[in-house]
């Protein structure tokens, strides 16, 4: 019974525990947790504007989570999702600002080029791993910084004349839609959520249904056996990084073509790529799990913005509370262990 339920029961319990822990922090600091949580909930579901903004926040989290999860499932740790996202963002915006094409071509092209840029950026650690056995974590971390500074340079010296952001993309390359915006009371909700969902289905299909996925997972589990079985281990390592990087690039394209409509100089990382690691872990590295985890993650992030607006609770406390909830969800393994202990005792 418990076993059947635990698939959903444990994440829910984790969230509840996280909320309780957050409440204690707020009580200790002299704030009213009930006010805070109702503001949080209102900030997600309260009106259509908030809901639209929450879904918009979720979109890149899904894609970044898919990128990390895909690599994970094939035995690689792509910690470079952040960098791949940044180059994907810029590449998509470049297509969006440079070419004048009908929308039917322009928008898909911009998205694809964004994905391609992310894929190329991820191909570098893949290649180095395959050819020289350099660990992908080191290379991809370094490439995060490289991506940040190279894109900043390109924005101010190549695409513009020492400006801190690019032009806005042409209307033919935008993911924004007056329809979605109108539906959600003027939020920045865009079609990216559909792209993200399609990518989740693609990931599931590749991993579970294709010979490519069969090879990728086999190589991730056991390179020796894969080689013995006639699979090309090196090609699979590179392929895995490329697909993972493409998802990350799409995440950047969603920001560039949907949320912002331009690329600007960044003082630091967006954080989405790193949060993607948490999303992937939370979602147990499956496509459906990543989507659910991204909704939780993105929902909390979006809703939390409303807490300081409606209550006297400062931003810092809000960050702590959100971090605690995520912490408890991420430690669901620990909670499962405790539950098992309790069950065992009960049986005896």
């Amino acid at each position: 019974m418990v076993k059947k339920m635990s698939g959903l029961f444990i994440p829910v319990l984790s969230v509840v525990l996280g909320l309780l822990a957050g409440a204690i922090i707020m009580l200790v600091s002299g704030y009213n947790p009930i006010d805070a949580y109702s503001a949080l909930l209102y900030g997600i579901f309260g009106d259509s504007y908030f809901l639209g903004e929450a879904i918009r926040t979720v979109t890149p989290y899904i894609l970044a989570g898919l990128a990390v999860a895909f690599a994970f499932r094939t035995g690689l740790f792509n910690i470079g999702v952040e960098g791949q996202l940044i180059v994907g963002w810029l590449a998509a915006v470049w297509v969006g600002t440079t070419f004048e094409l009908p929308m039917l071509i322009h928008l898909p092209l911009a998205i694809l080029v964004g994905g391609l840029a992310g894929a190329v950026w991820a191909f570098i650690p893949g290649l180095l791993k395959a050819k020289f056995r350099v660990h992908e974590v080191i290379v991809s971390i370094m490439l995060n910084y490289t991506a940040l500074h190279v894109t900043n340079y390109i924005i101010s010296y190549v695409l513009t004349d020492k400006l801190d952001k690019t032009n806005n993309i042409f209307a033919t390359a935008t993911l924004r839609s007056p329809f979605l915006s109108g539906l959600t009371d003027g939020s920045r909700l865009h079609w990216g959520i559909i792209v993200a969902m399609i990518c989740a289905i693609i990931m599931w299909f590749i991993l579970e249904k294709t010979t490519t996925g069969f090879e990728l997972k086999a190589v991730g589990f056991n390179q020796h056996a894969s080689e013995y079985a006639g699979m090309n281990v090196n090609r699979n390592i590179m392929m895995s990084m490329v697909i993972s990087g493409a998802f990350a690039g799409f995440a950047g394209a969603m920001e560039g073509l949907g949320t912002f409509g331009y690329a600007s100089i960044k003082g630091g990382f967006t954080g989405i790529g790193f949060d993607g690691i948490a999303v992937a872990l939370l979602g147990a590295n499956t496509a459906i799990g990543v989507v659910l985890a991204a909704f939780l993650f993105g929902g909390l992030k979006a809703g939390a913005l409303n807490i300081p607006v409606e209550t006297p609770i400062p931003n810092e406390i809000v960050d702590i509370v959100i971090a605690l909830i995520i912490f408890f969800v991420a430690s669901s393994y620990f909670i499962r262990w405790i539950l098992n202990r309790i069950n065992k005792k009960g049986v005896k």
């Binding site: 294709t210 010979t211 069969f214 086999a218 056991n222 056996a225 080689e227 006639g230 699979m231």
Partner: protein
């Protein structure tokens, strides 16, 4: 008679299975007591109960006549029970002494007293004739030596009863002999030993009494002196076992595998296969006899494409295949039962069904335009599972969950089902029990009788002599002799394997 250990009517259940049912084991002081059973008979479970890793549902454990509750390994240690694990638990960069005291470091004012510890280790080593150097690093010593460290670890902790979990699986014949001596000297010093094994030879050699288990049930305890390998084997398997596999006269036909002047380097860049020539014909089994490390592994890797050759040629049915990709070679009609089934043979996290199509998943009808057809895949898996008697809850069970024998049967099923012209079987029965060994030998001979070529590589001379039609002796990467298994003896083969005897017929292949 006084018993040091009594496990009475032990029952241990896991979800879905009863691993131990009413098992009784009584060990006398100063004896070597064997615990015999097939893979999956519940021997290890029983010992884990004794060592405090599992709690039994029923039954009683007594140590020196006193009823005890062993709820964790520390209690077992305190009661003087020590376990020598099959997979060593040693820290490679540490010295012998550091490993032995690990977890029980003698310290003075927070500083580890290595000097005293090292002295104590040396004393113990001398007392039990282990000849261990306390200051050597683990990574620099041999596997046999590492096992002695494990033994010392238990002695250092004051063990009176030592449990050996299949200790000979990883040892060379020479090391096995030495281990037997060590076990005898331990007993002479008043220790008691429980030896978990499925090797009858070892039991006959060193044990006093043997308790037999079959499918989780204790079958009984017999005195070794009043028993013989045949009766023990049938107790263990539950039916009569044929040691000598029946086979017809071989009818060799065309040459399938033809190796000429092959040279291969090993991982360290040293030439491991040295101008080797050998041929295997359709309808015969050629056994390669040799001591581990004489180029067998590199030879197989070269034939199967896992390793590049330096010179020479390998032909399958007249077509050169050296340095082709493994997939091309496997498609040319080579099947390979790998030496290390966990490293090469299986993706342990994949289901047994997925493992059965590990080389063929990309072919029709298992997949079409890159999309897998899982219903076809599992159809094929089911037919192999039933044909090769792979005991698994289902075709969806992860390979990891199967016992070694059943994993091996799945691999053999997979390789034989592809009906390869050449089947390479490397150590196909390593670590398996007599029932599984008999099954695998039959399958190899069946393959031969169907007009296929079989190349068998094994360190077990019994197996080589029993199954092969021709025996090629490999020494330092060369075939030094080719003999007829019916006209040779283990002694003669042993000498040739050690390089002290060469036959003129050697270098050239056809016998």
């Amino acid at each position: 008679m006084e018993y040091v250990i009594e496990m009475l009517n032990i029952r241990k259940e896991f979800p879905g299975i009863v691993a131990n049912d009413n098992v009784t084991l009584q060990v006398k002081k100063g004896e070597i007591h064997a615990l015999l059973g097939e893979n999956g008979a519940g021997k290890t479970t029983l010992m884990n109960v004794l060592f405090g890793l599992y709690q039994p549902e029923k039954g009683e454990i007594r140590v020196n006549g006193e009823p005890v509750k062993i709820t964790n390994p520390n209690i077992a240690n305190d009661l003087g029970i020590g376990m020598v694990h099959q997979h060593f638990m040693l820290v490679d960069p540490f010295t012998v002494t550091e490993n032995i005291i690990l977890g029980k470091e003698p310290s003075k004012a927070g500083k580890i007293n290595l000097k005293d510890a090292s002295k104590k280790v040396r004393e113990l080593s001398e007392r039990y004739h282990l000849s261990v150097d306390p200051d050597a690093k683990i990574k620099d010593i041999s596997v046999g030596m590492q096992q002695r460290i494990e033994i010392l670890k238990t002695l250092y902790r004051g063990a009176e009863i030592l449990i050996f979990d299949e200790p000979t699986a990883v040892l060379t014949p020479q090391e096995i002999k030495e281990l037997m001596m060590i076990m005898k000297s331990l007993v002479n010093e008043g220790k008691s030993i429980i030896l978990i094994t499925h090797k009858l030879k070892e039991i006959m050699e060193v044990c006093d009494r043997v308790t037999v288990m079959r499918k989780g049930v204790g079958i009984g305890t017999v005195n070794v002196s009043e028993s013989d390998p045949n009766s023990l084997a049938s107790l263990m398997v539950g039916r009569d076992v044929v040691f000598k596999t029946e086979k017809k006269e071989a009818a060799p036909a065309d040459v399938v595998l033809d190796i000429n002047g092959l040279s291969v380097k090993d991982a360290r860049g040293i030439q491991a296969v040295n101008h080797l020539s050998l041929s295997v014909r359709a309808g015969e089994i050629v056994g390669i006899a040799g001591i581990d490390g004489n180029g067998q592994t590199e030879l197989i890797e070269a034939i199967t494409g896992l390793k590049k050759t330096i010179s020479g040629s390998i032909k399958i049915n007249g077509k050169e295949i050296q340095n082709l990709k493994p997939r091309k070679i496997s498609e040319s009609g080579v099947g390979h039962i790998p030496e290390d089934r966990h490293k090469h043979g299986l993706v342990l996290d994949y289901s047994i069904g997925e493992n059965i199509v590990l080389q063929t998943y990309y072919q029709k009808p298992l997949s079409k335009s890159g999309v897998l057809n899982y219903s076809k895949i599992y159809d094929q898996a089911r037919s192999i599972i039933s044909e090769y008697d792979v005991r698994t809850p289902s075709e969806y069970t992860p390979a990891r969950a199967l016992s070694g024998g059943n994993q091996q049967k799945a691999i053999i099923g997979r390789e034989v089902d592809r009906n390869p012209d050449l089947l390479i079987a490397a150590q196909p029965t390593r670590g398996l029990d007599v029932g599984a060994i008999e099954f695998i030998h039959k399958r190899l001979i069946e393959q031969r009788d169907n007009g296929k070529a079989v190349l068998l590589i094994s360190f077990e001379l019994d197996e080589i002599l029993n199954v092969s039609d021709r025996v090629a002796v490999i020494y330092e990467g060369e075939i030094v002799a080719i003999v007829n298994p019916r006209e040779t003896t283990e002694q003669e083969l042993g000498l040739m394997m050690a390089g002290s005897k060469r036959m003129e017929a050697g270098g050239k292949s056809h016998g």
